[in-house]
Subunit: 331 residues, 2 copies
Amino acid sequence: MDEFALIQTLFQPLQEIGSEENASTGHGFLKKIGDDAAVWKGQGNLAFSIDTLVEGVHFTSDIPPYDLGYRCLAVNLSDLAAMSATPLFYTLAITLPEIHEPWLRAFVDGMRVLAERFHIPLVGGDTTKGPLTITIQAHGLCPHPVYRDGAQVGDDVYVSGSLGDAAAGLHLWLDRDSRSAASTHAHSKDEDFLIQRFHKPTPRIVLGQALSGIASAMLDVSDGLLADLRHIAEASGVSVVVDAQSLPISDALSRCFEMPQANEWALTGGDDYELAFTAPPDMEQKLQAVAKQSGIAITKIGRIETVNDTQKVSVENANVDLTRLGYNHFS
Amino acid sequence: MDEFALIQTLFQPLQEIGSEENASTGHGFLKKIGDDAAVWKGQGNLAFSIDTLVEGVHFTSDIPPYDLGYRCLAVNLSDLAAMSATPLFYTLAITLPEIHEPWLRAFVDGMRVLAERFHIPLVGGDTTKGPLTITIQAHGLCPHPVYRDGAQVGDDVYVSGSLGDAAAGLHLWLDRDSRSAASTHAHSKDEDFLIQRFHKPTPRIVLGQALSGIASAMLDVSDGLLADLRHIAEASGVSVVVDAQSLPISDALSRCFEMPQANEWALTGGDDYELAFTAPPDMEQKLQAVAKQSGIAITKIGRIETVNDTQKVSVENANVDLTRLGYNHFS
């Protein structure tokens, strides 16, 4: 199957997703796939984020293609969630070592399930030959964006869902051969949950939208909580103090791993794609209502203090080695 | 140097380019680099195109980094030119095997010269580790886009500039070791011109804009003239007849290579990034004026006929082997 036939049969149907929903918002496409460029006719605050996932760096070569397709779109939508945006559409540039149709069908299926959930069409792309690399640019409307630079001294720090699951899931996934050889499977359901948290993160779109007007600063937890909070500290010119004992740890994670390890992953492990944000103390009641309505836990994990040049992010009640504090990476 | 310092020192200055010009158009950025997403506030027809260049597929590992930076942005802007769009901004996702600062500085310099020419800021991106791969999404406004599907029976077919130079340049570049070992350098200036045509194509932005309202269908010549004209034929439901004797061949190309070879490259070689378009016969005078004003040659190379299912693109007066007709590729 050549490039054009491939695009026709596999990618073209993705451009029909959500068309009607978009029309009803007054925004629409004059052109999607199939010309030199897509043409979007609209107005407002258009947020967009581009992210690349590289085989061997961001995922292992044996990730199920369905999960990979899901994950590539999920991590991009997570960036939109962190802006408090409503997803509108996305583009896909995929570099493949070869065209293996069953693999590609499963990859497309994984993207489709998420695209259908958020009613977003694929509107353009590029297919190239080379080492497996996937770049997606996701676009959304955000009438009232929430940035990283709005944290104020006295604000509380919150995080959605639970932390550390994805790092535990990655550990389990990489270690699965030795586990399957072992005789005990007492935790197999919990382990599957953790692996899914790594492979198929949930972009917190609805929560992100609900936090507009409440959160003073926001981002998604992709590099690891401490590394990500550092961005808020630097952009806002404040310091962040995290209470290590308050971090939300899932039941699955606490059943599968001892506390110091779970807490370390919660502090420094990445890939959870939860929202971390700050809000003034008087927003606490509103936040409880948002948590109740969305069904997603919101946990207070720290506070914003005046800027402290030597330690932009510090941790209280830590029971783990924190030499990794301030960790950042080239990946 | 870590990822964040790298972005700070090298990529951040690119986001300042063209800021004032964009403000004067009533469009502007609430956020560029440095948050979860960029936020553009504007309205109108936003055209955008995403393209990936992979080392070993779209460029050789020894391409000068300055040329590579230039080329990556140029091929994306060429897609906007083919829509008759005015470039506004771009995003960059770059995957690097390592951070080699001098290389990266030269790469950024190459992007900058083109970004400054068209007054477009870099507004977002992603830096990842892996095999050298560069993905750019370029965005522009096009009040009156020109698509591929507007060609009418009776229209003439035109192309800008000259064809085949880039294919010749690639040939010369790959063969340069054996050439430099030879004693004769009679054509060295011509050869440099051809290599530059491959490494540093000129996006025909101003010409593309001038052709709005004149051209009935348009695209840029990236895969090779015959392969690209096939897209117009298929999208418009017509046939294209090309007169092989009318193809514009540059003086440099005709001095360096014999006619059959030059003509073959003009027909099937890609990477020239000239504009190929159709227009009704009564537009000929307007086209002469556009050519005069832009200083870019516009050559009539064929005509549009009723649809011919067996041969969507056919060639008259061919003096080369045309078994490659209908050629398409996965790259």
